[in-house]
Symmetry: C5
């Protein structure tokens, strides 16, 4: 899970310059529009937004744009919907912190979608921008995903409240889809951490500390991506923008509670990983103790015995013991007693 930071290539350009997001540079963005009211819902894939028709529509319009490469499209959106050039620049700068800006005619919300990438077997952070205008919502993603599909389905079928509500409810539904998905990612992380936990307790290896480190970085990165969302939602709850009706606020408060829960889970992960590192370090020490005990016991038993054997291997002419008939058996007995003595000593030291 690597964060994309390409900000440095903008150095020296005037503010508000629109630079396409590199990886997507060659792809045409995919634009889809939902136009609905309580009784009807039209869904179309389009190549260009028809600004006057959207602005004058009596229905709610939700325009979703996948792909951030076509800077000219963004310039047209800017003039079509009267969006500040800094906002457009922010939508195209994919290392934004989640934030909410209250402009005169629109609300701008940035947040992070977390997905599991089966290709790299890793988490992937994607930036999602939302623009809430009167009766119109624009959503921008880096690439096409399926997190918003259940919402699309609800719009098509007209189940639930979605079609009965106004544009702010679409913003809520999009954010809710993203936050709900956080819980899935938390489950994935939980499984990985439990696996590391088992490894640390059962059979820690040299690579385990690196795994813990990488997981800590990953948790820290998710925390950086999600933490500011809490403040974004608190700002929405406090804001007095008329674009968000007081009727919708309980839903955003619910979202706020969910976000706090996710953050709390990440903090639990962080503390748990710190604890696992402590266990890992203590288990490395314990393993060394184990190794040292074996060495010490072998040495303690055999070095004195070897000395005794060496003693009677000396070639002095006058060593009375050597000529005694019982010399050898007595020495063997002494050696056996020494071994017993050392074994008792180790027993008392609890090394055995």
């Amino acid at each position: 899970m690597r964060e994309k930071v390409e900000r440095s290539k903008k150095t020296g350009l005037p503010p508000g310059s629109l630079i396409p997001v590199e990886e997507e540079q060659r792809k045409t963005p995919r634009i889809s529009i939902f136009e609905y009211d309580e009784s009807h819902c039209t869904e179309r894939d389009i190549t260009e937004i028809d600004y006057p028709s959207v602005l004058e529509s009596k229905k709610i319009n939700w325009i979703n744009i996948d792909g951030l490469s076509d800077t000219r499209l963004f310039e047209r959106i800017g003039s079509g919907f009267n969006i500040h050039s800094l906002t457009l620049e922010d939508i195209l700068t994919i290392d934004q912190r989640p934030k909410m800006e209250n402009h005169e005619d629109y609300l701008y919300i940035v947040l992070k979608m977390i997905n599991w990438d089966d290709g790299t077997a890793d988490l992937e952070v994607e930036q999602v921008s939302l623009l809430l205008l009167r009766d119109t919502v624009l959503s921008f993603q880096e690439k096409t995903g399926d997190v918003f599909d259940p919402l699309r389905e609800r719009l098509r079928r007209g189940t639930g409240r979605t079609r009965k509500e106004e544009a702010d409810y679409i913003v809520y539904s999009l954010m809710d889809a993203i936050v709900d998905n956080y819980f899935n990612m938390m489950d994935k992380l939980r499984q990985e951490i439990e696996q590391i936990e088992e490894e640390v307790i059962e059979d820690p290896e040299t690579s385990t500390s690196v795994e813990i480190h990488k997981m800590r970085n990953q948790v820290a990165m998710l925390r950086r991506s999600i933490w500011p969302l809490r403040e974004v939602l608190a700002t929405i709850l406090r804001s007095e923008s008329e674009l968000i009706r007081s009727h919708t606020l309980p839903y955003f408060r619910d979202l706020y509670d969910h976000t706090v829960k996710v953050i709390e889970t990440l903090e639990m992960f962080r503390d748990n990983l710190a604890g696992l590192l402590d266990i890992y370090l203590s288990s490395v020490s314990n393993k060394m103790n184990e190794v040292m005990k074996v060495l010490t016991m072998i040495s303690t038993v055999f070095i004195p015995l070897s000395f005794l054997a060496g003693l009677y291997g000396m070639n002095f002419r006058y060593m009375p013991e050597l000529n005694h008939r019982m010399g050898y058996p007595v020495l063997l007995l002494v050696m056996a007693l020494l071994v017993v003595f050392f074994l008792l000593f180790f027993k008392r030291k609890k090394w055995l």
Copy 2:
């Protein structure tokens, strides 16, 4: 002690969808109702709430529901008492953080009950939801427990102030029963921690660090469950809802003090466990020191002696000492002096 997190299975559903809590899915909820005023108290087990009669009753009604599986019951409660669908969803989502919501007609309070489960020999966290309406209190538990029994007894007997007070006092009494129970759990934890402390100081083993880690996670989990209750109570103390009379506020302030005390105890546990890990690590090092000293002393004494023995075990033809009558005894003397010298050296190093 595992936290139940099942939130991820809700991904993609519209907000306010009621999903039964899985483990309880097949059980019928147990509903009991207390209807009382200062002079009378009726207690019944019922299968369905008679909404009009409750709403029009001149007495105080406390309805306790054990079991969160019957979603249709919750739908009827929602329409019968005019409860927001998000509140109903929260009651059924058992990984809520403790919180308090001030709705137009009712207060919604979530908190965590901590119980000792004799089966798993572990702490168990259960979610309790309280709804305070005018003259009516609804309480929701995951399963039937006995923490509220003393309150039931007081209601039946009419002792204490309980029957003289209004519905907010029932809410206070329920929360007080839960918080009082926290102190019991703190005592259990204290005993377990003292046991670990003894183990660390007397005879630390490899598994001790894992025990400390598990206890730290347990304390952290309790802290997450109880910490937000402090804020809940502060909100109640500040709130100007007319559902809570100023007359009852001193009781909630008392509850606030108790909760702070519990949190402080948990923080003491946390710090103590961190300290125990430090001691554990230092004792592992000390044990290794002990092992190394034995190895070093044995080696230091016997390796030079063995060398001397080896020296006179050589087969050179011309080694004058070997033929000397006093060769052997003199060598033995030299060896004895060496041993004395090393013993003095170890003494001076304080290794003995």
Copy 3:
């Protein structure tokens, strides 16, 4: 130094139930009363408070009660002075956090007295409760102590401002006596910590880490006992209760400064002890290094020499060196050179 926590035995009782403090259960409380104005001061030991005479007295009354066992006395105090039952319960619950409550007719202050118990050679925490009524002060201690004796002496002699001031000044004087005593306890702690410091630097032993741990717990416990007093005093300084005259506020501000100084000292102790643990751990490692060096030097010198001796102890028939006249002296020379070489090597490594 053990904190007394007996809260759990109250579980299930209605709030406001008065339970005597166990250890004191059988003793009769000792009640003394000072009745004074600028010109006169009467001091009596009594067995029962004469409520009407105290309430109607034109003088200042300070009633000190040692012993928290006689619950009926507390019930009479409750009705005699119109004290809320929760306040009485708090006075009898000796694990309160320091706090200040502003009731209609009185201020209730709880704080902790720290004493040195010569019997257990340990610090002892005792709870002191103060009730400030109009012209009357009640103080409650667990057992009779001598911290308030200088104040009594000043009242008797009429020196200083005490007799010229009103009841709030008695409250200040009592708190001042307790805070002044904190400084004595800080001196005791300082001495103990300096002793540990010396031990860590001069001659750390296995038990030293346990001593550091115990001292850390002790400092943490004092911090928990004293820290909230800061907030209590800040509340008094901000409060607009007419029971505390603005004229007395500078004295409480002085007390606030003293309390901050004590807390700062405790934090200094805490940081110092954390540092001592670091030194301890590094000294354990250094000691092991020391041991390892001895082992390594002995082994490094003698193992090669032993090998050489062993080599010429072999029984091959054709080993020309063995028969050479100079074989033995040359080998001895080689061995001596090896020893010199290794000693130089150790010198260069700074192991010697």
Copy 4:
């Protein structure tokens, strides 16, 4: 990367004393002036500022001064533009914290430019001071750099909004150039940290911990240089100075977001480096484990074998085994079995 602290040489001088920055003492400052409005732009290098002409100019004036050595120039600027002597002293004191001061006639902003010095192959911190007067901006650098060149180019060409805006936009553009450059420096740091990370995981050496320590100090130093800028920008956003038009505020808000992003990156670096130290320490322990295992295995196998060999090297006259024909082959077999036994033992211990 060393911070320049020369403040101590000012001790004893009256406040407001202007002392030249030492390193630059002998160089003449380089003064350049841009005078522009939407249609024209004049650029000149000058040796002395013509104060009346600047003050009365109808155009925007940006005066850039490289070099802080000519104290008399600063005195003339002080009287020419009516700048407080303490402000002038601050401009010349190059270890200022970033700050913003709202004076009556001007805003004074100090911030830090971070550059890569190819000479020392290290980061270099330079202080930049900005003075925003009505229609005039003064910028002060320690030495000539190229960070502002793109802005100069935009002024010359008249592209972008710069020439259309007023003096506050120049201040924004200068700060934006500096903050944009932070992102470049973050990239450099990121590369260095990744290199250390690789080293720690692949092949940690003794010097690695020193490298981590130095990098941590460097990150801490950058954090000290950049962190206060956040507060500076927050102050600008809150300030009601009429020198900054509300029209320009979105640009400063954008800058604020960028600064927060840089700070967040630095905090990520800090946490990552702390984690790397943990891995380093655990890898040192693991390496020692590795060494000890080799020692223990060699010793465990050969010390008992040597004992056996020594045993049959003894010179007792009566050792029946020695004369047995199969004595030697049987012993060799026993030794081989011992080796197999130990190898299996090591296998079970997972040392092999």
Copy 5:
């Protein structure tokens, strides 16, 4: 550097009791007075303050008192200038935290002067108290120092603004002299820390960890002495006392910035020392690794060789190799090959 804490001897005395500072008890205080306006300046050493003449003087009076032993002098100052007895007590209690008190007729400021004591080769903390009355400043030091000499010189010569300003500027100048001196002390600390840093990196010894610990305590102590000054200055900047003219506030703001800079430097020192301890600990481990490698290599090479030698030192009658002509040279060759093998093995393990 030891903090003087003698507070405990005051226990039991009434508040406001004046106790002389012990060390100075026998010395007569040295009182000097500067009386000046823009055109004149008189400087005198006096033994008693002439209160009426000072109070009625049309000029500014600065009275400096060195020595805190003469309690009667303080009583006379108390009545002469109408100073609260608690303020006098604070001046004489030399372990005050820096603070500022806004009394009706005067401001009371306490702060800490840090000096280098050549005698003990250590830093020394001294308490300075300032009283700002209308047109009069009193300053109190424990002993005579030279930090204020440049200010005296400026007053005598009439250079700078000092003689043109009013009494609040004297207070600023005194505080400025003290804070300027902090920068000198920071330089001293910096040098000592750099020395420790070098020692840790080049050649860590057992005593190094104690040195780091002592330096950390020293830095912590300075932090405690200086940190509250920040709050003091913030209070002055916010205060609306008419004793400090708005004209002087920029100077105090400058002082505030300097204090923040000093605190930041101390925090940098603290972090750096924490990092040094980490390096120290890792270097101790590395050294042990080094020792272990030598031991392991020597043992690994020679223990198997010794075994081979022992094998052929056995006295079995039937050992065919012993009688073979090439037995000895072949064995020597085998041994040489073993040595080569082990050296290659160590090379691959990077132990050589």
